[in-house]
Assembly symmetry: C2
Homo-oligomer: 222 residues x 2
């Protein structure tokens, strides 16, 4: 029955607004570690001895091709687990988008931890199932949606995560481009187009976005 109680995704369990969020780590966690903007948390290929939970801030996880092309798998917010791997090594690199707080867990202690704390097992399982689901939704974005649909989908998800109608993007246009399989120019043009259609409004700072028409945004996202 436990499985039926799983929430749809980890980011639903912990509502995780982009603004800083009070978060209670599980027992056996290390003290909170702080990493600065653009600092690496772990690197693809390194031995995965720890996994992490975000307490504050935001993180990008990505892979690189030999020639430098980058694909950002996901952006992670407080409550999310990162670096929990199938193999012995990290399969992607993680960097802080903004100053970020983390608690780390020893991977080898995972069995003992879930034995002591069944809630953690459920949370991890739900997190993983949610990650698969979000990854599959993102494949649809990357494989079959147009540039405008990609941006609309992305902003729709962000506004959902943020709660209200205001998005405070913690990432650059370059990050968005590398997440959506576009270039920064196309990201910029698509945002401008959404503003021209009165679906969003982008004030001068360019990192804040007001959603003026959620329905139209959801409609474009498909």
């Amino acid at each position: 029955m436990a499985l039926l109680q799983f929430a749809p995704s980890a980011s639903t369990i912990v509502p995780s607004p982009l603004s800083s969020h009070i978060f209670a780590p599980f027992p056996q966690s290390s003290p909170v570690r702080h990493v600065g903007k653009d600092e690496q948390i772990f690197i693809e290929g390194d031995e995965a001895r720890y996994f992490y939970q975000i307490t504050e801030g935001a993180v990008r996880t990505f892979k690189l091709l030999s020639d430098g092309r980058r694909q950002i798998d996901a952006f992670h917010l407080p409550g999310d687990f990162i670096g929990f791997e199938a193999g012995a090594e990290f399969s992607s690199t993680a960097e802080a988008l903004v100053p970020t707080g983390l608690v780390s867990y020893r991977r080898c202690r995972f069995s003992g931890m879930i034995a002591q704390d069944p809630d953690l097992a459920n949370l991890m399982m739900a997190g993983m199932l949610g990650a698969v689901e979000r990854a599959q939704a993102h494949m649809m974005v990357l494989g079959r949606k147009t540039a405008l649909e990609r941006i609309a989908t992305f902003l729709g998800l962000m506004v959902e995560r943020c709660g209200g109608r205001v998005i405070d993007l913690p990432m650059s246009r370059m990050d968005i481009a590398d997440h959506l399989g576009l270039t920064i120019e196309t990201v910029s043009r698509s945002m401008t187009e959404l503003e021209r259609r009165d679906i969003i409004h982008i004030p001068a700072h360019r990192r804040t976005i007001f959603v003026r028409n959620r329905l139209a945004l959801a409609d474009l996202a498909n």
Copy 2:
């Protein structure tokens, strides 16, 4: 410690060649159910009361947009679990590529099953972690690789799954296109280009592919 014993992916645990494969289901499974080519196993949006394990054949799981655009998340082979969901409903549709055998498990019995059989818990966990990893690798394909690189990556993975140097594709060009975010024409042209470069050879049936130069294929895949 259990986590460290996980194999990289379910398809490594069960080597699953595309040819039929003897497979021993876990206790508490239903008798094997057979579904014909192109028959649906479950449908996106339906209540997920069961999940399934493939004993024989091959399956595609996909999502549709309102206008019919399709994204095939993955192709599944004997040993793979499908339909294990985060939420109450199936998040994608599953169809048999070829006549396929399945055992089904009641989702509500999952907790009891893993209590009785720790191997199953490990296998499911490994399967899920593997799914996340493969999904992330596929995002790189969809977001950042060229058509030729996508085909090379796909054929490289298939030849790896098959063992030898001969791939017997259970899916059509349309399926490949909808998996790789391309059109059937581009799939066809890219395959022809690989043959022109003597990297593969495609006999008359067009469903069998001989890999003549694995190194060149891996090189193109990045």
